[in-house]
């Protein structure tokens, strides 16, 4: 069944002697044009893509990272934003997902207003609050055309128990945080999710909702332009 894929190997690693590279599957969703492809590309290829195209269906990107000495494969499912693709096409890819990244465009209020629908979409696929979810406001480099203020976004994130990150896939270094260790903010965001996932018990990753005893209470740390991971690092087990 659905558990037969890589995640079964993940949880069932007892029976598979050589420890396999763990895989974290993260689905990235949000309206068309918010920058899902750019963000995932930035994380996996390390740069802003010169020419993106509309995503038709689902694209897949991955990157191998090392967390506390363990090699982990992060799989990003970059989905189509146009509404008509959601229902019948993208469905299949919600299965066995370990975390969800919601993206809106800070310069496009409509993309922010769509978020409840996206959250609902996830719930229908059994991806509720028990699965790590984060909210990303993209295109922060376009400071003059911001339509969604940080306050509003933060309230929303709090209400849905998600940490909020504001960033830019285009120039993630110029956010004025002065934190040059994590000079790539987009990278830091995805790594935060990966850390979060790693800190959970492996079983939780591949189990349907009822399994986990811990509804993760997220403190929804406001991203003050600093290390956006704060919210989680303190609430994680």
């Amino acid at each position: 069944m659905a558990e037969s894929g890589s995640s079964a190997e993940l949880s069932g690693s007892l029976t598979l002697p050589p420890p396999r590279t763990r895989i974290f599957k993260i689905i990235v969703i949000g309206d068309s044009g918010v920058g899902k492809t750019c963000l995932t590309y930035r994380f996996c290829a390390g740069k802003f893509p010169e020419k993106t195209e509309a995503t038709i269906g689902v694209d897949f990107r991955e990157r191998l990272v090392e967390i506390d000495g363990e090699k982990i494969k992060i799989q990003l499912w970059d989905t189509a934003g146009q509404e008509r693709f959601r229902k019948s096409m993208v469905q299949h890819y919600y299965r066995n997902v370990h975390a969800v990244v919601f993206v809106y465009d800070v310069t496009n209020a409509a993309s922010f207003r769509s978020l409840p629908a996206w959250i609902e979409e996830c719930k229908q696929h059994a991806l509720g609050t028990e699965v790590p979810r984060i909210l990303v406001g993209n295109k922060c480099d376009l400071q003059d055309s911001v339509q969604v203020g940080t306050d509003v976004a933060q309230q929303f994130a709090d209400a849905h128990s998600m940490p909020l990150f504001e960033t830019s896939a285009k120039s993630p270094n110029s956010l004025g945080d002065g934190n040059y260790r994590n000079s790539d903010h987009v990278e830091a965001i995805f790594m935060t999710v990966a850390h979060k996932l790693k800190s959970q018990k492996p079983l939780v990753l591949s189990q349907p909702p009822e399994g986990s005893g811990g509804t993760v209470i997220l403190s929804g740390g406001r991203n003050d332009g600093g290390d956006g991971g704060k919210g989680w690092s303190c609430s994680s087990c």
């Binding site: 068309s32 269906g57 189509a80």
Partner: protein, 397 residues
Amino acid sequence: MSTARIDRASSPMNGRQDGETRRKRKIADITQALNVDPVDVATLRRMAISEGGLLTDEIRCQVWPRLLNIPPHLLDQEPEKVERDNNKDYNQVLLDVQRSLRRFPPGMPDEQREGLQEELIDIILRVLQRNPQLHYYQGYHDIVVTFLLVVGERLATVLVEKLSTHHLRDFMDPTMDNTKHILNYLMPIIERVNPEVQDFMQQAEVGTVFALSWLITWFGHVLSDFRHVVRLYDFFLACHPLMPIYFAAVIVLHREEEVLDCECDMAMVHHLLSQIPQDLPYETLISRAGDLFVQFPPSELAREAAAHESMATSTFKDFELASTQQRPDIVLRRRRRQKQASPESSTLSPVMTVAQPSTARRFVRLAVMGLTVALGAAALAVVNTALEWAPKLDLFP
């Protein structure tokens, strides 16, 4: 050894000469077919399918409208202006067109490209505005840009409108349910040819979304060499609207070794398959797709495809429109009736079908498809007579 070298050296020359001769011959045949009255659409169809397709854009400007059965008087219509403000599709179309840089020839000056992008937006909005029943989908712009670059704005508008109300109609429903249904043909085709591959894919639970952009853009979204895209458009315009899904199957089958070597995991297989190799042997694959279509026509696969879904509407009866003089609304009306009645094919000529033993039938169909290259000279006579029958055969079941 030296003679062998000479032989080898001279054969490509001959090959090239042959190629040149064949090309001239083909151009002459096409011209001839265009000049007879009424225009010999069956021959044009065959030319579009057979090796090399329609060869040049000038020819395409003349032949594509014929393949879509567009009445000549429509071709001179000056496209009307379109309103962009308050247009429900404008934002999405703009976003997609702005991101379509890769579809334009690399050396094209920005200014020229931007002009074409404006035209692209206009064509799309115009067709949508004239046909409120049609819904824009991301990828539609990849189709329209191909027409724009080959035939120019005015003709592209007419061709795209016709295509949208026929070949692409199902993709333009309010939902993608019918599109999904069409994708369901993919696995049964693969299964007929190579059950092992089908089984492997089934186990990996890869689904069919990797082929979605292939289908709804006629490969325009995924092939980087524009010449290949145009060659495929020749082929698809001349064929049954389901041909792109046969072609998708052929690509998967062409890569069977890679697929079977892949880790049996949804992500891995999806990833492998969605990256189309750019050096595909297109002519071979085209004739293979045609062959599969003949061997396993949609009517034969319909039940299996429908088994994946509760829905069982094969909406592709429209094709005969292209070779007859019917008006679209008649076909649409009939299509609606068929939807309500039996999903099985009913537009074929029963007499011919029943009378032919199946191998002979297959042979004739193959011939009509224009796939005569493999059949040898003896087939030609049959082809020629078969062609006269073409519209009446169950060529497009």
